[in-house]
Symmetry: C3
Subunit: 139 residues, 3 copies
Amino acid sequence: MRQVLHRLLIATRGQGLVEITGEVSSWLAGEHISTGLLTVFCRHTSASLLIQENADPDVRYDLERFFDALVPRDPARYVHADEGEDDMPAHLRTALTQVQLSIPVADGRMVLGAWQGVYLFEHRSAPHRREIVLHLLGD
Amino acid sequence: MRQVLHRLLIATRGQGLVEITGEVSSWLAGEHISTGLLTVFCRHTSASLLIQENADPDVRYDLERFFDALVPRDPARYVHADEGEDDMPAHLRTALTQVQLSIPVADGRMVLGAWQGVYLFEHRSAPHRREIVLHLLGD
Amino acid sequence: MRQVLHRLLIATRGQGLVEITGEVSSWLAGEHISTGLLTVFCRHTSASLLIQENADPDVRYDLERFFDALVPRDPARYVHADEGEDDMPAHLRTALTQVQLSIPVADGRMVLGAWQGVYLFEHRSAPHRREIVLHLLGD
C-alpha cells in the first residue's frame, strides 16, 4: 500500500459552485492506484466542498439561491464584519456543508454515482484562488 | 495492512431514515479487521447518510419533520423540476447532510457511541434501491 | 505504513464551540507520522465537529447564534423531549454539522489552512465530558 499527497489550485469567479471532478479525476488517473481511498480537503473557512448533481445547471442555481436565503447576507444579523458583509455568511455556509470528502477508489476511479460531481463551493463575492489538498491511499 | 471494498444495496420505503448499522456491522464482522478505518459512501444525490440517535423513534420523526420545514417541497421556490417536486428538495437535504462517513474501527467494530446509529436518509417520496459503497482499510 | 488509535476526552462548559486543534496537534506530533490521514470522530449525538475560523472570537459568537435561530429550542416544535428541551435541537444541530472529519497530514502536521481550527461543538446546555476518537494512518 502507498500514499500520495497533491495540491490543487482552483480559481473561482466569486460566489457559486465550481465543478472540480475533472481536475481530481485527471490527477487520480495518473497515480495508478487501483483500489483505495481519496480524501479531498479544502483549506479555507469561506469556501467548502459538496458532492452534487452534475446534470441540470438549474440544480446549481437553486442550490446557490437556497443558501442565499438560509444564510442571508444581512450585516444586521452578525457581529463579525471585519472582512466584509459576505464573510460571516461564508463561514456559516461552510459550516453547513463540508470542507472534507473521502471517496473510495475502485478500478482506478472514484466510485461516484452516475449523477454525482465534486464541487468547490465559493462563498465569497470576489474571485479567489482556493487550495485543495488531495490525499490518496491504496494500491 | 489490507483493504477491501463492498457494495451494499438498501431498499428504502420513500422519504425517511433507514438504519443500516446492522448491515454495515455484519459485513465488517466478517472481514476480520481489528483496527482500521471504514468509509461509507452513498452514490446518490437525493439520499444521504447520517449518524443519529438510535434509541427513541421520536428523534427520527422530529428530524424528518425538521428537514421538511427547512427545505420545503414547494415548487414555487425552485427552477429545477424535471424529476418531480421532491427532487430539488432532495438535493438540498443531501447538501445539508453528508454522502460520506468515515468511522474508525477498534477491536473489529465501528467506534460508534452508545446512542449512535448509521442511517441512510431517503429524500425522495418513492421507494428506491440505494447503493452504498463500503471501503475498509486496516489490519 | 502503520496506524494508531487514540481517545481524547474534552470537557465542555455547556453550549458552544471548544477549540481542540491544540490537543489534536500535540498528540499527532508525538506519533512521528510524516504523511498520512487523521480521522477525528465524535462519539455523541448532541455534540459535533467543525472546522472553523480560529481568529476572531466574534465568528464563534455569530455561529452559535445562527444555529440557535436555525434550530430553535422551542419544545412546541418537537415530539422528543425525554432528555430535556435542549436535546432534540442538539440532535438536529449535530445532523447539520458533522461527527467526523478526516484531515490529511503532511510534514507531520494537519494540512489546515492558516485560519482553520478544529472545534468540538457542544449543543447541550450543561457541561459534558465528550469522547473523541482519533485514528491516524500513514508513515
